[in-house]
């Protein structure tokens, strides 16, 4: 629980941070809230020679809402996501999910950028960004580029981000007014990763489901966008058969590891229950 030695940098601009990353390519890591990275360093599973703390980069701390277009800076904390009235109005699943991340002390420091960028399948926001079809903005030595959240994750802790790039913001289109959403997470205790969790956003047209998108957390080595499960709901009245079909489709794409939360079979089962309950809750909230 004692980290190796490292040099500490505290840039004040994205350019400066990217310059440091590029200058120490492969030996530098970005420190945001630190809730994933610092434990990894204490376990010596991560031993960066350079730690680039981005908390003083002011440009990464804003939440921009213009019409349905939302852009959230990488340094925005979970506490700030919870406090944002704009987000509560346009995309309440962010608040609901943030409230299920650890405890207030952690949410005061943990950032959205850190949560989605480091590729930990236990983190909650990646599945939400996938179901919202969000876009990640990455800055590197050659400028910035955009990557879909659905294309970003390759394996546990492996993403398409180049080691000289940093994630600077997240963009997405808010679901239409009247949508219903829910994030259902089963965990052993506050602060634990999910045994399984599911997020659902859907819209209703009368009694019929007009659109649906489902994301799954911690039931594979990446977050999962459950496309088939989502499609199984569209055009239905969200009757038992449709929900059951969505649950089965969602379970089919899970591949959880057996761990202290239970065997793989159980975690897949719980994923199904979370999907079912999230659909029900989202349905109730939709109008």
């Amino acid at each position: 629980m004692i980290p190796g030695s490292f040099d500490y940098h505290r840039p004040t601009s994205v350019d400066e941070a990217v310059g440091l990353l590029a200058g120490h390519a492969g030996n530098a890591l970005i420190l945001a809230g630190g809730h994933s990275l610092i434990p990894m360093m204490k376990l010596r599973m991560a031993m960066p020679e350079h730690l680039i703390d981005i908390q003083d980069i002011a440009s990464l701390s804003s939440i921009e809402v213009s019409g349905p277009q939302i852009e959230i800076g990488a340094n925005v904390t979970q506490a700030e996501l919870i406090a944002s009235e704009d987000l509560e109005q346009h995309c309440p699943i962010l608040r609901e999910t943030s409230l299920q991340i650890a405890d207030p002390q952690i949410r005061n420091v943990g950032t959205l950028g850190g949560n989605v960028a480091n590729g930990d399948p236990g983190n909650d926001m990646p599945a939400i960004m996938q179901l919202l079809d969000a876009t990640y903005v990455l800055s590197g030595p050659d400028g910035s580029r955009e990557v879909k959240a659905r294309d970003f994750y390759e394996a546990a802790y492996f993403t398409t981000r180049d080691e000289a790039e940093m994630l600077t913001s997240i963009r997405f289109t808010a679901p239409p007014a009247g949508h219903g959403s829910s994030y259902m997470k089963q965990k052993r205790k506050i602060g634990d990763y999910a045994t399984a969790a599911a997020g659902v956003v859907l819209t209703m047209s009368g009694d019929t489901c007009a659109s649906a998108s489902i994301g799954l957390t911690n039931v594979a080595d990446t977050p999962l966008w459950a496309e088939d499960a989502s499609n199984a709901l569209i055009g239905t009245t969200l009757d038992d058969a449709a929900v059951s079909a969505a649950v089965d489709a969602a379970k089919a794409i899970t591949d959880p590891a057996a761990d202290g939360r239970g065997p793989a079979e159980y975690r897949t089962h719980v994923a199904g229950i979370m999907v079912q309950r999230a659909i029900q809750a989202a349905h109730q909230r939709a109008n």
Binding site: K189, D259, G262, V270, I273
Partner: protein, 805 residues
């Protein structure tokens, strides 16, 4: 002035027995001003860290220190080879075994200490620990206690392979530690053979760890000028550590000073002597500078004293109408790689023979076989050297299993078999003399408080609703009634390494009427500085706030056996009262002189001696204290001091009735604790607020153990649950509202009637939770499942019963 009001005011001013006085310790703890081991900083201090084994069982082929020694700032790297010339590569355990300080030729559990690095700072030490090159030859690991004594089981302890006479009698196998038994086996078997009804279950109490907020650590400082070794450490028994340190280092005991500063929770995790202490002391003796060693969380969870790991096969015999006629129990005890328990010499399974519990069982037998496995040593924490918790879990689960078989309400079955009030003092079939109890009154109060009948009626409705498909939740009601055995203890029965388990208190009254008391115990959060001052306040009439309590420094405190096993109040609390009475006896003589009356003409009144029938003629304790220092009183020595070493005549037997209600979501296994009612009878209550706090804490531990904690090992000996990523430590969110209650049945042999309470909720809480979970499925035929009752295991139970898919 109204005499009655005056007396009341004086009593309140004392803040003595029964007062919910605020904890005096909290002023510093809540302001971050405690002084823990890791706060100690001495000039020139170096830091220690261990290179540890990645394997559960392996032979050490070679160790190369060169790379570690080459790190700038590394002062020394110690291995077993360095300790051998000092005969310190093994140390005696408190259970009569020996334990490797640094692995000698073999490693026997994952994270075992292999080399000790001494460096100029903590970070350099950790860097160098990674660079100690050890070549291992992996050996088959033994992690299943049930296979420990198989013919082909791997030989773990090569160091004692020819020593088939253990500390507790003959060993049957190279992995066998001891067999111990108590009671009448033939009689118990006969009762089972003759019984109308019998039940049998194998009940495992899984390996857990108390995970105190502060981990273990020490600072060792050898002063080469005066030859004195000072050890600051997280020691629950500082005097015992001093004696052990003297015996193993050959440093005379007067040249060793052991200090326990503030301790952030002990729970038995800090009773034992650990490799880090020995290595730090050796390194300080060699280098002449202070050495600090403080373990991290993973080291704490994976190497220092665990709790439980008991596999208990219980059998009950009963009549068809629910009268228990006999108990037979055999235990397979997994002690890990070394037997590092801290039992009294006579009792290698502690007080497991309290396993007849609160019931009048005419004939009983228990036998325990201890075995070695490739797991961390310990078996000390959570009063587990005394094994009362395991015994209570076994009998309280077995009573519920019997109730199912008889189709009888579990509360009713308990009431039917309780030891009755008029039977106390009661001698159990396994030989304990229970001092006092009134179980029926306690149980009646508990059942009434929770409206047990209404709960059972609600449960019937819930079950019907479940069958109709109106709910997916099942309600469970857990009843547990425990009898504790604490206050170790009478020197004739109880010792640690041959040291009798008395305790002590020394009191000095200052001329201005305030006082200092020193005890042989050491608080780890129990609030001794608060409660022992209250005992004294009532005994000697000096306000608690004017009494300083000091513990934990062997140079100043009288010899004592420390704090664990809920023994401080029963033993040191008694010593405090007895020392107080000596003070009062002398004070009476002084008062008689001052008032010019015969001692027999005086009576004690709250804070003074007064002439019988003439309360205006009196001398307060404050006046007496001053007189004791400034007047030459014929026949009396000056000053006002006393010391008492108290050897209790018996243990004390606190008890309680706990009732837990849970709601189980059968589709996820998530179990919500709806309510938890805990009635504790710990005899005379010194500080109700502190008792309540201790009960809250112990119940939270019980929740953690019953519902989630599990330190297990995979087939090659890798520890699972060795970090807080996986080890279940509940937060306030998971912790239900505790409803506490009490009855008061004083101990007849304790000077103030107090019995001890710290561990009761852990003892009684676990079976209450477990019984509640089982009760939810009882109507579906469930008798027993193993803990922890975490989400997936509960779901698995529901699935096996066909309730979910």
């Amino acid at each position: 002035m109204n005499v009655h009001a005056d007396t009341k005011e004086r009593v309140e001013k004392l803040q003595g027995l029964g007062s919910s006085r605020k904890r005096v310790e909290d002023a510093r703890f809540t302001q971050g001003a405690g002084n823990y081991v890791d706060d100690i900083k001495l000039p020139g201090m170096l830091f220690g860290d261990f290179a540890r084994s990645p394997y559960g069982h392996a032979r050490i082929k070679s160790i190369n220190k060169d790379a570690a020694l080459a790190v700038p700032g590394v002062v020394a790297v110690l291995t077993a080879e360095d300790l051998k010339p000092l005969n310190l590569h093994y140390m005696p355990t408190l259970a009569g075994d020996v334990q490797a300080v640094l692995a000698d030729e073999k490693v026997l559990f994952q994270n075992q200490e292999v080399a000790f690095i001494v460096a100029e700072d903590r970070y350099i030490a950790a860097d160098a620990a990674d660079l100690v090159e050890v070549e291992y030859e992996e050996l088959p690991a033994l992690v299943d206690a049930f296979k420990a004594m198989d013919d082909d089981a791997p030989l773990l302890r090569e160091d004692i392979k020819d020593k088939m006479e253990g500390a507790h009698g003959p060993r049957k196998h190279h992995n066998h530690i001891f067999h111990w038994e108590e009671g009448d086996e033939a009689g118990a078997n006969q009762a089972l053979a003759d019984a109308e009804v019998t039940v049998e279950e194998m009940i495992t109490y899984q390996r857990v760890h108390p995970c105190p907020l502060e981990t273990c650590g020490c600072v060792a400082s050898m002063d080469k000028i005066n030859g004195k070794l000072t050890l600051w450490g997280t020691f629950q028994a500082p005097h015992a550590v001093r004696t052990v340190a003297s015996l193993i280092t050959n440093i005379p005991e007067h040249n060793i000073r052991v200090v326990s500063p503030d301790i952030g929770g002990g729970f038995g995790n800090k009773v034992g002597v650990y490799a880090g202490y020995i290595c730090a002391a050796v390194a300080s003796i060699v280098t002449g500078v202070p050495i600090k060693w403080v373990e991290d969380r993973i080291e704490n969870l994976s190497t220092t004293a665990f709790a439980r790991d008991y596999h208990m096969t219980g059998k009950l015999a009963a009549t068809r109408d629910g009268r228990i006629t006999g108990l037979h129990c055999h235990v397979l005890a997994d002690h890990g790689a070394f037997d590092a328990c801290a039992d009294p010499t006579k009792f290698p399974a502690g007080f497991f023979h309290i396993c007849t519990g609160s019931y009048d069982i005419p004939v009983a037998y228990c036998g325990v076989d201890g075995v070695y496995t490739n797991k961390a040593p310990g078996g000390v924490a959570y009063r587990c050297s005394f094994r009362v918790t395991e015994a209570a879990y076994m009998i309280e689960r077995m009573i519920d299993v019997l109730a199912r078989k008889l189709d009888m309400d579990p509360a009713e079955l308990r009431m039917k078999n309780f030891i009755r009030k008029e039977q106390f003092p009661y001698t159990s079939a396994l030989g304990w003399e229970y001092d006092s109890g009134d179980y029926h009154t306690a149980m009646d109060k508990a059942l009434e408080s929770v409206d047990y009948k209404a709960l059972r009626a609600e449960q019937q409705e819930n079950r019907a609703a479940f069958e109709r498909g109106d709910t997916r939740k099942l309600m469970g009601i857990g009843v547990a009634f425990f009898t504790e055995i604490v206050g170790a203890g009478p020197v004739k029965n109880c010792d640690i390494l041959g040291l009798g388990m008395f305790d002590s208190c020394e009191i000095r009254i200052h001329p201005t009427g305030s006082a200092i008391a020193r005890l042989g115990t050491i608080s780890q959060g129990q609030g001794h500085a608060t409660t022992f001052a209250q005992i004294l306040a009532t005994e000697i009439g000096i306000p608690a706030e004017d009494i300083t309590l000091e513990e934990g420094d062997t140079d100043t405190a009288p010899y004592g056996l420390g704090t664990y096993g809920s023994r401080s109040t029963p033993v040191a609390g008694a010593a405090t009262a007895m020392a107080g009475r000596k003070i009062r006896a002398k004070a009476q003589m002084i008062a008689a002189y001052l008032l010019e009356v015969h001692e027999g003409d005086l009576e004690w009144d709250v804070d003074r001696f007064q002439v019988k029938g003439n309360p205006d003629a009196h001398k307060t304790m404050k006046e007496i204290a001053f007189a004791s220092y400034n007047q030459a009183i014929p026949g009396l020595e000056p000053g006002l001091e006393a010391v008492s070493y108290y050897d209790p005549p018996n243990m004390t037997y606190p008890f309680g009735a706990y009732i837990c209600v849970v709601d189980i979501d059968v589709d996820t296994g998530v179990t919500d604790v709806r309510s938890f009612y805990a009635l504790d009878d710990c005899g005379t209550r010194i500080n109700p607020m502190i008792i309540e706090g201790q009960v809250h804490g112990g119940l939270t531990e019980a929740l953690a153990i019953a519902m989630g904690q599990d330190i297990s090992y995979d087939e090659i000996g890798n520890i699972r649950g060795g970090s807080l990523l996986d080890f279940f430590l509940p937060t306030a969110v998971e912790t239900p509202l505790w409803q506490t209650d009490h009855t008061t049945t004083p101990s007849p042999h304790h000077p103030i009637g107090a019995k001890g309470v710290g561990e009761s909720p852990n003892v009684g809480g676990v079976p209450a939770f477990s019984n509640a979970v089982h009760d939810a499925f009882a109507h579906k035929g469930l008798t027993h499942t193993q803990m922890p009752h975490d989400h997936w295991r509960v779901w698995e139970t529901a699935r096996k019963l066909g309730l979910t898919g």
